[in-house]
């Protein structure tokens, strides 16, 4: 090798080839030394952690696997004195009750409807969250319109009874709406035809929705009081997301609006909801909603927390969306305006698609929070997963010392799998967004 120490002029004629790194200390032992025992402080830390793990892990493994009971039909299987060995988790109990945990008291013969609901939900979620799925715009229509209707019909049995005069009234009202759109267009000197078409479109969507709900599909009605378990947990979460996203977007736009009253109304709503605990919102929905409605109108018991959750989630979603809107460079607005797009076009075509994309991680995180919060509906007496577990664990048939742990462990596992999966997903998206917008 040429040496240039003290050479003033120097030209290198051959390129030095890239060499593999020198044989630095490698291998597992070196790794352990570097990562676990590099210095006295680290060594102590490692030992302390190891001790903690030693204290914590074996009992958990014992409980969950080694001493667990997997089969059995009643409490005898899970009591140490009758089973004749120490008893850990009583999975037999979960297995025995699993249908109750999933469906609550939903009539056995009708449970296939719930299964279809789960499948539809999975379809919608995958369609929307899988960034490469085809036609995600259709996916959005499916998830935010078709899916709610189908679920409603499936789960309740449809056949909502509107009163006799309802359809007549509806037709009159639709005619008025269409006419109103036409008149407004004429008044504003805009082309009348598209305006009428838009009006008719709105009316048609509402009409079809209502007609689907009223139609008798020959399904046996199942009152919501019978629903329960994971069905209700997923339902509350789904309703939360289906309503909170559109409302959240509206609120976010409202909060960024130039119109002071609109802005103030949005701010008040958002800050109010975010300032109070969800439980108080749920209790309010539960006890006060009926008071605010006309005397002979009632709201279904299950619908009340749903409304509360939807409101609550909207406010949080609004803040997430607002973050996305704020992150949009001003140039995008200006580019759109300079092309002559008007406000709705600009928002729908340019800003929202990008802003929502940026905040997918935020949306998913809000959803995780929402999903965890659904457990609170148990407090207002809705039979969600936690409530079914609470109800089962006091079943004298299964009275055994570890039943409570097992039930809670099952619920914890259920929530953890969902939430952790979603948070991994949102991390993935975040990473992809960070590496640029390339498709």
């Amino acid at each position: 090798m040429s040496t240039v120490v003290d050479t003033f002029r120097f030209v290198r004629n051959q390129q030095v080839e890239a060499l593999p790194p020198p044989n630095l200390a490698r291998g597992p032992i070196a790794w352990i030394r570097e990562n676990l025992f590099s210095g006295p402080f680290n060594t102590i830390l490692t030992l302390v952690v190891l001790y903690l793990l030693y204290v914590i892990i074996p009992p958990i493994v014992d409980f969950v696997f080694v001493n667990a009971v997997w089969t059995g039909t009643d409490r005898d299987a899970c009591r140490a004195e009758t089973a004749g060995h120490p008893v850990g988790a009583c999975w037999a109990f979960v297995i025995d009750k699993i249908n109750y945990f999933v469906y609550g008291s939903y009539p056995v013969t009708e449970r296939w409807r719930v299964n279809i609901f789960f499948a539809l939900l999975a379809l919608g979620v995958v369609w929307l969250l899988w960034l490469r799925a085809p036609r995600r715009d259709l996916g959005a229509i499916y998830f935010f319109w078709l899916f709610p209707i189908l679920s409603y019909i499936l789960l309740t049995g449809g056949d909502a009874d509107f009163s006799n005069g309802f359809w007549l009234g509806f037709i009159v009202l639709s005619a008025l709406i269409v006419a109103g759109f036409g008149a407004a267009a004429r008044f504003l000197n805009a082309p009348v035809k598209p305006a009428v078409l838009i009006g008719a479109g709105i009316v048609a969507v509402i009409g079809i929705t209502l007609a689907l709900l009223e139609a008798d599909w020959g399904l046996q009605p199942v009152p919501t009081a019978l629903w329960g378990g994971i069905l209700v947990t997923l339902l509350v979460a789904t309703v939360g997301i289906v309503f909170s996203l559109p409302f959240g977007i509206l609120l976010a736009l409202g909060r960024r609006s130039k119109l002071p009253i609109v802005r103030m109304a949005s701010v008040i709503f958002i800050e109010f909801v975010r300032g109070v605990p969800l439980i108080t919102v749920l209790i309010m929905a539960n006890t006060m909603l009926p008071l605010f409605l006309p005397g002979d109108m009632t709201v279904d018991r299950l619908a009340r927390p749903l409304i509360g959750v939807a409101f609550f989630a909207s406010a949080y979603m609004a803040e997430v969306v607002r973050g996305g809107l704020q992150a949009m460079p001003k140039g995008q607005y200006e580019g759109a305006m300079s092309l002559g797009l008007n406000y709705p076009q600009m928002m729908i075509l340019i800003i929202l698609p990008q802003a929502l994309r940026i905040v997918i991680p935020g949306i998913v995180n809000t959803f995780i929070g929402l999903f965890k919060d659904t457990s609170l509906v148990a407090i207002v007496g809705i039979f969600d997963l936690i409530k079914t577990i609470e109800a089962s664990r006091i079943d004298p048939n299964w009275a055994a010392p570890t039943i409570s742990y097992t039930g809670y462990a099952f619920a914890a596992l259920f929530y953890f799998v969902f939430c952790w999966g979603m948070s991994r997903y949102s991390l993935g998206v975040e990473r992809r967004l960070a590496t640029g917008h390339k498709h």
């Binding site: 008291s105 009539p107 009926p290 007496g381 079943d395 004298p396």
Partner: protein
Amino acid sequence: QATLNSVKQKGFLTCGSNTGLAGFGVPDAQGNWTGLDVEFCRAMAAAIFDDPTKVRFIPLAAKDRFTALQSGEVDVLARNSTATMSRETQLGLDFPAINYYDGQGFMVRKKLGVSSAKELNGASICTQQGTTTELNLADYFRANNMKYEVVAFATSDETFKAYDSGRCDAFTTDASGLYAERLRASAPDDHIVLPEIISKEPLGPAVRHGDNQWGDIVKFTHMAMLNAEELGVTKANVEQMKTSDNPEIKRLLGTEGKFGEAVGLTNDWAVRIIKHIGNYGESFERNVGEGSRLKIKRGQNALWTKGGLQYGIPIR
């Protein structure tokens, strides 16, 4: 709008029930409801529709049962609720009938060696929040100049579980509830119910103030079941009894007079009730009495003729 009409229009009765109290109102995993209060609602459905299944049960926690009734969400609340003056006057409710005379008692662990509630000075006591129980408890300890620590929970499930797991020395609720809950203890025989009854707890179905026709139906559904028991009319013999010559039976079963129509029902309303549900005694035995797992004695709930308080108003 009259409740009866709206119920007929809907085609079913909505009935507020307990979220789960064995013997009074409890659903199984399939959502089939059983219990004394539940059968009361079924009896009403039988009287109105001649079909005891035309009831929808809405499980209500203690703390929102009255709101549900007030808001019209349920037509009748049959959920072991205590009739009190303030509930009738300030909450705008009516308790037309009392289908179970109860009183608040205490349950403790046998191990504790306590044999009277008077010995509970300094104990922790689990109770359910938003009930008269909570208030009676405070009154009782104050009256007897004893100290205690109260631990209150929102539902009876939570309350009992806390007691069972040792959080409290004593568990208090209506005596009927004590018996019902004891069944769910991990070891029922380890617990005893103390003899003191510290309050009067007349339990009965409640309706909204102001709809007297509906109130009458509730009231006389219960009375019909009492009278049937008194007159010996049972689920099994009701068809034969129709031919009875006893004028009281005839009036009850609608072969004489138009008592049913007077409250907006059919004249064979009582037959429908007895045919589907049976008389009060039958219902009692089946759900809470010796024939059930609760094994509660008739006691105060025996007919007046047998020294109890259940006194059926004559139908005439």
